[in-house]
Symmetry: D2
Subunit: 338 residues, 4 copies
């Protein structure tokens, strides 16, 4: 019963099949193939406006290249202290941006409030001696499984706009947030002021396909350059493109995310008495204590202590193809802890 | 008749099939899966010694991360003026290294001679005011299709060792060079003094699988860190690993390269009177003049002028799955130019 | 009555005179002049051991070059959240280091405790996904005027050593701390585990002379390279060297710092009821409230609100040549606030 | 008889005296003092237009900060292969720019011709795979003592403008070029298309005072940021400002440069038969062969072989306070070589 992360899951058969479908004759390299060329239009349909799309190999690459393109080296990127870009990318944003600074703010469930964003913007205010606020970055869903509603995104977007800074969204679990909110992709991205989005597909069923979705079109050239310099312009672009096209095909991405969320909800119900965060997407945070976690492990469950060993808290992540029987067994285990 | 580049080719069926074979249950992410864990051993067998292997998404990433790991920011990397790292990576080596300098040397067929390397090492000699020679980088095969024999690699390796600098090899077409030389992989890598190798599989039949093969084991930790910061540590590592394991399986990589080289040799014979470089691997350089190239294109051939438009020279690259009938037609066209 | 900062003060006459004394015949450039060549030895005497000394133009340069030389780009530098390197250098440490991360810890009076250092070291512990602790940096005196006693430095040094990280000291006000502690320079630097020291002279009477004092001799070559690349290797090195030699001559530096500290102590006594930090060096922090600060200003005093406008708190800094009459007047004003 | 470089010279008495003149009461730090605040206006008068001026400690800093402000990290800076930025700054431009690439062109006497600039711009033309031409940088005077006439600057400026790239001038010896040309400072800078100028004063009589003169006013904010991050915003700004104000006062800078040029002309006449470059400013290049140079040294002359040991060629640099008797003796020595 592996609940360690959705990145432990295999790829969806539909996406794997798409690789075979494009694996034929010679086509132009470096994103000039017929499938790569469909990406701008396809994403444009999904997001209901003109966009520029850049495939990359990992979410860290998507985040770092996107962020480097919205901040000068002397800029500050306001983000939650638990954000993936702050804790899990080994300084990749600093590397790609030439040394920009992450300005860490607090907030329940790894979510940035409007107040926190304002404080983060105001924090460095010694003129030339301070770094200059350049961007805010939020995760949808957050590292604690919380999601931003359209009005919450818009509130942050408005603050960012007024401060003259960009709003970036780390959408490693964008689909999970989206289906939970039952809104349009546009509602939690550009309509709310998001200028650049890291759009994740890998965790939700792809093999390795992430995309930088650029709404601020004037930033596209810079993103293209930074991607190339980062070694993220795929030589045989067709395979990343095929994954993303299949991901959207027939709403596959939504179905996969819905399944994960629904199973997570089951876990959430079973764990209701010791949930340490509301279950809003496909992540479940529980705090049954050290002994409780030991029991779960003794019962065959595999997961991470969160945020650190010995905290008595744990994270359970449900993937697109989580075994339903496993979820049932886990629910029983959780109920047994009550 | 597409002879633009071997990167326009599809992936070998055996490699594509390998993706399905690993696409099953949950496994650990970030290179801790069972297949990724076989890479060090598998490459160790191929190279007849202990190595550390790091998969990345592109050849540019492999080169840049490898180079950054062998030079300080104030270092000089001696390479041929036509090297891929100098001309085709949009400054990725400078980016990853924090601003190291490529020191460009000349040489026939994009090959670095011992004399050129010595001159490149000696070029910056104003003490603290100069950058400090830190590495030499050679391409196997070169951007002009030439290959380094084991003794040539060893000669460069000896010079590098004496100068206290590292020797890096860009092996984007390592397999093509290897089968042409009929030697062991070790003979043109670590036995000749190569400390870090960019091992390419994408051009020769993979979808997107390149590896940094680290012979200088003490550099491994730094490479791991730089890969992570570059966003090149795959989340679902199994797919890159599966490609590389399949690449070696039953000598597939050698068969694919041999086929490409053999067909290139046919082109070379047909183009003998106007070859502008010896045909040593899977690249054929011809200089039939502007009119001649126009005739080839009128006959249905697609290729790049080399190194620039209007030069009257062209590069024909033969891929692992080049259509044999196409090669025959192209040979006929070439003969008709005589 | 200017108490804004000790950097508003002019230069000591003895130091200015030293410039004329060396302003004669041609001498070798780039630090090869007779005066620059004395620096290693002179600092060696002051610090009672072999050192390597590098003059630079500013304290920001000293800190950033020193820090870049003790951390890889993926390193973490643990420092207090109010440290100069964190708040007042516009990201210079991130720039020089290629994107290392400052790990901010708390502590009274901008001082890092042993507990805080341990927590800072432990904070990023997700293996390859986290930055790697590489250095701790402390300010002597701190941005809140506090000083580290020899045993406190040694305690931090021991923790750093055990963790395998370097200990850096920002000694912009090293002299003020030193004379307050009545110990040897060695006692609060290398004997306590400091590997690299930013030694400030500008605030305490020089025109523009800061030095990186390198105790970890093997780091010297890297510091030399980073200084050159930062544009901090003075062309006419004699003038920076002359300032530093004069600074030490006859104990000038100690006399200047003692005077500043003594006058600050007078202010401290006058402000005793509303001191917001103990007066340990030449900085005095008071919190008489917004109205109180307004009265001081109405009385002719000039100073900064601290740490931000409207806090009701202020910082008064006393320089080496603060006017004694001004201090008396200020004392009277402070007393009148009681 | 020291003819090694003009940076071996002491400072002009007028400039030293100016330091004392400002060494009085407390003034605002970080360039907000009364003298620093005069710089924009004073330089504006000299250059006959609005400018923004940034003092820094060295010429390397001026060049690197200026260049970083006119190129993205993926930019190319076209310069002569012998340029100071290419040969003598240990990669500082690459460091400050985040890894931009110097594109080296050839040309007699280290001078860039219009043809060479065009070729340099055209050299990298593989789209996203190539770096992007961003700036050209020329030295006035060049590293071989040559100078650009106003029409030559304008020709390069026109090419740069048409290509959409910036024109930077390394004016480490701007005064020497200026007085030789008997034109206005504007004629060889912004009127010819120079957007940013590294204005040197150190070699021509200052202690340590270089200025970035920004004609493209919209770049000023970026230069300010990069200067701060580089540790080049002087804490006590008054001293650098005082040097520059004194430099201009009463035309001192022109008198100093004229003297140096005139004495260099005497050397040039004496060395006429073996001059290896025309004498246009204060540098004299001679090629009397290895034996000839040995005789000069035996006669008491000190200078550098150029560009490398054993070339039989040498560089003689005359400073603003070169001893006249030394020049006479050297002339006699040179004549004796005929």
């Amino acid at each position: 019963m592996n609940f360690r992360s959705d990145n432990t899951a295999a790829a969806a058969p539909e996406i794997l099949a798409a690789l075979s479908a494009v694996n034929d004759k010679p086509v132009a390299a470096y994103g000039e193939d017929p499938w790569s060329k469909q990406l701008d239009e396809k994403f444009g349909e999904v997001f209901e406006r003109e966009v520029r799309v850049f495939t990359v190999a990992t979410g860290t690459a998507a985040n770092s290249i996107a962020l480097a393109s919205v901040t000068p080296p002397w800029g500050g990127i306001i983000c939650h202290a638990e954000a993936h870009i702050a804790c899990d990318e080994c300084g990749a944003p600093e590397f790609y941006s030439g040394g920009a600074k992450l300005v860490l703010v607090e907030g329940a469930h790894a979510k940035m409030s409007a107040v926190a964003l304002k404080e983060g913007i105001a924090r460095n205010a010694r003129g030339i001696h301070s770094i200059q606020p350049a961007a805010a970055s939020i995760s949808q869903a957050t590292e604690r499984g919380a999601i931003y509603r359209p009005d919450e995104v818009a509130a942050l977007g408005a603050i960012a706009k007024e401060a003259g800074i960009a709003l970036h969204m780390d959408g490693a679990r964008f689909a999970n947030a989206l289906v939970a909110l039952r809104c349009a992709p546009a509602d939690i991205s550009w309509r709310g002021g998001v200028g650049v989005l890291s759009f994740g597909a890998t965790k939700n069923g792809a093999l390795a396909a992430e995309a930088i979705v650029c709404f601020d079109l004037y930033r596209a050239e810079e993103i293209a350059r930074r991607r190339k310099r980062g070694g993220h312009l795929f030589c045989k672009g067709r395979y990343a493109a095929a994954q993303l096209l299949a991901y959207f095909e027939g709403g596959l991405w939504l179905r996969l995310a819905e399944r994960a969320n629904a199973l997570a909800a089951q876990l959430g119900e079973a764990a209701a008495p010791f949930l340490s965060a509301p279950v809003e997407s496909n992540q479940v945070f529980i705090k049954p204590g050290v002994a409780g976690l030991a029991k779960l492990r003794a019962g065959g469950a595999d997961f991470y202590d969160w945020a650190e060993e010995g905290s008595g808290e744990a994270r359970l992540v449900v993937s697109w193809n989580q075994d339903e029987a496993d979820v049932k067994r886990m629910c029983a285990l959780l109920v047994s802890l009550r």
